[in-house]
């Protein structure tokens, strides 16, 4: 059996220096609710940052890889995406 199978286990391998405020903002949860049946960002985000909670989106920005996929992939441009402040966010040690 291979190790680190789940996304939680994978994320545990990464060093994050999380800022106190989020660099990711879902602009209008109503659009998610009414127009985006698949909640597609919860599927393609490689860090499982987005979690849909009935009527709103929970954004676990602390685990973001800053890849940019959600900014490009949200069909309604409903995500305001910035870089975390200098020095904050993900810190790759190897790759």
């Amino acid at each position: 059996m291979m190790k680190a199978q789940t996304i939680e286990e994978k994320q545990y391998l990464v060093r994050f220096n999380a800022d106190t405020k989020s660099h990711l903002h879902v602009l209008d949860p109503n659009i998610c609710l009414t127009k985006c049946p698949d909640k597609i960002c919860t599927i393609f985000c490689p860090a499982s940052v987005y979690k849909w909670e009935e009527v709103r989106m929970h954004v676990g920005y602390e685990g973001c890889h800053e890849c940019g996929s959600c900014r490009i992939g949200c069909p309604y441009e409903n995500i305001q995406w910035e870089y975390p402040r200098g020095g904050y966010g993900i810190v790759f040690r190897l790759g």
Binding site: M2, K3, A4, Q5, I7, K10, Q11, L13, V14, N17, D38, I40, I43, F44, P46, A47, S48, H65, E66, C67, G68, S69, R71, I72, G73, E77, E82, Y83, P84, R85, G86, G87, G89, I90, V91, F92, R93, L94, G95
Partner: protein
């Protein structure tokens, strides 16, 4: 009095550092800005660094740079569910000077390269985000950073800020990328004893092997998997167009698990320990997606300009060469004290004349062709596997009968015609 430099380079990846290195070497007063804790802290790559383009900047860098292994064998696997047709080239000439390419780990390599630029006289400032370009009278005159009193000025600004170039977008050099212009790659670094690596991949110490995996690695979506050998780790990853993940509603880390557990791959990595998980975008729009790369007081290099040859997994080399060409142009512009767009546009010309422009032009329709016609990955790779299995299975049937079977497997006359036409089309977009 605000600070003023000759040049500000935003981003200390291979593109930005190459540019800053060349400028500093020529005596230009250059500031290299990086948002990460250190250069490389935000950067991801499967890991093949090409010797030639790096040596154009630092001759014999391989004598001191933190490299993993020189690659002596490159394998290409056309993988189906329980089989693979593999093509490989191994050549010992790649294992000695001048070498062909090396695997690297970016967090180590980028730091080393940036230190080299500093030795030449560049000023490196980390933990600083350039949040926007300062534009005055239609010219870029500096950048606003997220530091207090963070406006910095320069004659020319180089945007080497990678695939998420918010700055080039701010300037209107390109609209937001479409999901079919970027590939999302996830990857893991797996720790494994170096003797085991050498046994499994048939290597001597200080030799490396790369494997590119097509077909079932991406469950038929346009993209590739890869497995590369480092000193005492392996890099394993998979990348697909973001549009493909969206269309197939696929979670990228589940695809990565699928590859890791694939019966054709698992034996290579068995017993290894994952030590890091990474995700990053690769610009794969190719030639048609190259944005405007020169404006008044500004140039765009590397991933920020979509300079990646996805077919040959070349990105870091194009990044470095574009950085070097930008530096050459800036040195010329400085001599004439002219940083206008018409002067700086010489960079675009140099870029298009170089292997970068030539190669991207050659493959300008390739990615989109394979994305539009999924049968290449979904049908033809399995077909190729069945044909190989048929031909090499000794079961008493004559070779002639086997050829007949393979021929029948290609389908009806209409399907065969389609196959032939698709092969012609593929040849056309690749030739």
């Amino acid at each position: 009095m605000p600070e003023k430099f000759d040049c500000i380079v935003v981003g200390a990846g291979p593109a930005g550092t190459a540019c800053a290195y060349e400028l500093a070497k020529a005596g230009v007063n250059v500031l290299l800005l990086e948002r990460g804790e250190y250069p490389g802290a935000k950067n991801v790559m499967g890991g093949v660094l090409y010797r030639k383009m790096m040596e154009d900047i630092i001759p014999e860098f391989y004598k001191e740079a933190p490299l993993e292994r020189p690659i002596v064998e490159q394998r290409f696997m056309m993988m189906d569910k329980e089989s693979a047709v593999t093509f490989s080239y191994k050549g010992l000439e790649w294992g000695r000077e001048p070498y062909n390419n090396f695997t690297v780990l970016r967090a180590k390599f980028d730091q080393w390269f940036a230190e080299k630029a500093v030795e030449q006289g560049a000023l490196l400032v980390c933990e600083t985000v350039a949040v926007e370009c300062i534009v005055e009278n239609g010219r870029v005159v500096g950048v606003r950073t997220d530091r207090p009193d963070g406006d910095i000025y320069a004659d020319v600004v180089v945007l080497a800020d990678g695939v998420n170039s918010l700055l080039a977008k701010q300037l209107g050099f390109h609209r937001e990328w479409r999901p079919d212009e970027v590939a999302l790659a996830t990857m893991e670094i797996l720790k494994l004893d170096k003797n085991i690596i050498e046994d499994r991949f048939n290597l001597e110490p200080n030799q490396g092997c790369t494997i590119e995996i097509f077909g079932d690695a991406t469950k038929g979506i346009v993209g590739t998997g890869f497995l590369y050998t480092n000193k005492d780790t392996l890099s394993i990853g998979v990348g697909t167009l973001l549009s493909g993940l969206i269309k197939h509603k696929m979670k990228p880390y589940e695809l990565l698990e699928y590859v890791k557990n694939h019966p054709m791959i698992r034996p290579y990595i068995q017993g290894s320990e994952p030590v890091e998980y990474l995700a990053h975008l690769i610009p794969e729009g190719g030639y048609h997606s190259i944005p405007k790369v020169a404006g008044h007081g500004v140039l765009v290099v590397g991933d920020a300009a979509q300079l990646v040859n996805a077919i040959h997994r070349e990105g870091s080399n194009m990044a470095m060469t574009s950085g070097r060409l930008a530096a050459e142009t800036i040195i010329m512009a400085k001599a004439q004290n002219d940083f206008s767009e018409s002067m700086l546009d010489q960079y675009r010309m140099k870029l298009m004349e170089s292997f970068i422009g030539q190669d991207l032009k050659k493959y300008k329709d390739a990615t989109h062709h394979f994305e539009r016609f999924p049968q290449y990955f979904e049908q033809y790779i399995p077909m190729m596997n069945r044909a190989a299995s048929q031909m090499f299975t000794v079961d008493g049937a004559s070779k002639w009968e086997k050829q007949q079977k393979i021929w029948r497997d290609l389908g009806s006359a209409k399907q065969k015609f389609k196959l032939a036409r698709d092969m012609m089309k593929a040849w056309k977009v690749m030739k």
